[in-house]
Symmetry: C2
Subunit: 363 residues, 2 copies
């Protein structure tokens, strides 16, 4: 779900990101009025959601949804309602992040307190009774629920005509089920202690590749009334590209430059994130290397020396090289599928620029 390394600029062509932000702003204004009618106690909820939803975010999923539509509809068609429908996907992402931060007990998101911490803080400032942590958790659950509910509200109220909505809704629905199921498999994989390349790839497929790229493209294609060949082409492009980007993220999470990733070096190792990269290293490790992995992965107090030791194991087992090869292969597959896709040229160009950006070795 992270896709931290995703280069966003190609999707932004035509000022799309700004249009998405404007659509989100209008929608959030409407919801603010509904919440205000409920009572003044809702003021901090409205403020927190506005800050969270409107402030930052790459708008990747709306971007792919829009270009998925555009690839079929071609340039020159009125697209205001489509931008609004695509923007709805950002509210699903907001919900997923608010709930994810709570599940992971993350303190911050984009450099600010995570929603559950923000409400824990509110509890403290007001010297309310009971547990501030419980109050923060309850608030984060409910704010995530609001965003999840608003996601289909915005989609349905986008102004897209009934026929297009009917065609796109089943894909929109399966996208939501898949990302939640993928999240569960991820939580399960952490609980099982990782170690399976196949299971890690499945998590990556559902939580990242389908959710971030394939399904948004499909929703866009369905809004444009695409035929089965277009859906298949978007899958053949989106699934490998999504996996390639997630693998790139995983490599960056271990080897990335903190200046570029915005996270401390080796942060994924401290968190004990169960990635394909680590599963591969585990599969190939000898007894001594396995000992290092077991002892150090997931140690919240992991030192810089520990990070270096783990990096050495991941390189020496060949796991890093293999993941780089996987990224290259997946990227090739995405490019080949894109070249033959039955879509408009400007959309093909945008989608190709995205692939190009992923082939650059960033470590």
């Amino acid at each position: 779900m992270a896709a931290e390394s995703f280069p966003v600029h190609p999707l932004d062509r035509g000022g799309l990101r700004q249009r998405i932000n404007a659509a989100l702003g209008d929608f959030m204004d409407r919801q603010a009025r509904v919440l205000a009618d409920v009572g003044e106690g809702m003021v901090p909820v409205t403020a927190a959601l506005n800050d969270f939803v409107l402030d930052g975010g790459k708008r990747l999923r709306p971007g792919f949804c829009y270009w998925g539509w555009r690839g079929i509809a071609g340039p020159g068609r009125a697209d205001e309602a489509i931008v609004r429908a695509a923007t709805a996907l950002e509210l699903l992402q907001a919900s997923a992040l608010i709930h994810d931060d709570l599940m992971d007990s993350s303190d911050t998101r984009r450099g600010k307190p995570a929603v559950h911490r923000r409400f824990e803080g509110l509890h403290g400032e007001n010297r309310w009774v009971g547990s501030g942590e419980s109050f923060g958790s309850a608030a984060a659950i409910l704010l995530g629920d609001l965003c999840l509910s608003w996601c289909d509200e915005m989609f349905g109220a986008s102004g897209v005509d009934d026929r297009a909505l009917r065609a796109a809704k089943p894909l929109f629905d399966v996208m939501r089920t898949e990302v939640m199921a993928g999240q569960y498999l991820d939580v399960l994989e952490q609980a099982m202690g990782g170690g399976s390349v196949e299971r890690s790839r499945r998590v990556m497929r559902f939580k990242s590749a389908k959710y971030t790229i394939e399904r948004p493209l499909h929703v866009g294609a369905a809004l444009a009334g695409a035929d089965p060949a277009a859906f298949a082409a978007y899958s053949a492009y989106g699934l490998p590209l999504g996996e390639a980007f997630q693998l790139r993220d995983d490599v960056l999470g271990v080897f990335g430059d903190p200046e570029r990733t915005g996270k401390p070096a080796g942060d994924d190792l401290r968190e004990g994130k169960r990635t394909v990269l680590l599963a591969l290293a585990g599969e190939r490790a000898d007894a001594a290397q396995n000992e290092v992995l077991t002892a150090l992965v997931g140690d919240p107090a992991l030192s810089d020396t520990g990070v270096k030791e783990l990096r050495a194991v991941i390189e020496d087992t060949g796991a890093l090289a293999d993941v780089e090869t996987m990224i290259t292969d997946l990227t090739e597959r995405a490019l080949t599928a894109l070249a033959g896709a039955p879509i408009a040229e400007d959309a093909r160009e945008v989608l190709r620029e995205l692939v190009d950006a992923a082939t650059v070795r960033s470590v």
Copy 2:
């Protein structure tokens, strides 16, 4: 949201509850197939959701939605699609209960482990790594999210025609926002330590009266293409009735017979539930009575003697009598509104039987 004391039989006329259960069963079967495609790790999720959604529940909100439609559409019209659309409201309720049990740290629901406890147990049985409690919480968040997402999926895929869906969706949307906002106000009221009759009534209005009765009736009315007078009549009936039932629940939570309520005597007092009944008692208490309230409400280890002491304060302050008067007045208002409502006679009869059941003093 509880409405524990709600008599369900009048809504069940024509075997409605069985039809609702059948519609839920079909929908859950479809989702089971989607989850099976994600991977075998999803098996416990499917099992838990089937148990939770299909096993029990009064189907109140689908019932009100159906009779809200029927009041406008009259008897004799095909209603299979309407039953499915109404049934979708049960998935919102499932989501709310799963998340609510997690927020309240409730161990059980309908005599079985709450969802978060069930997955905590799964973690223990499998001797997985990390915190079983965190695993259970994450699972409950995600399973609640699935139900919330499925709620609008089932509504949209009910087979109701586009025009009726377009009319009903805004009411369906505002219902979801209101119940989540009402939940937040409830959590906030607990954190503020209660004490405000006005704030407690607002929580009751949004979390119970609107969510359980008024909005389901409205959604049904909109599905039937009702005019504004019908919506106003359903509000004039549903809001006071919803408040009356919640007040009855609150009285039962303190004075109810465990044999009838299925909960230990005085359980709401141990939980420290901030109700209108308690807020009224607090407003009227003298210094000595206030000391009893402050010392005992919310004490998880409250003894039977403590329950009796609190009951005495609630009676002696006149709070109990006032709440009984409120219930009577609200019931009168609901009946008057119903008598003048522009709806079909069989629906009026069903809705009147519900009111009658609420006037019976059950303590």
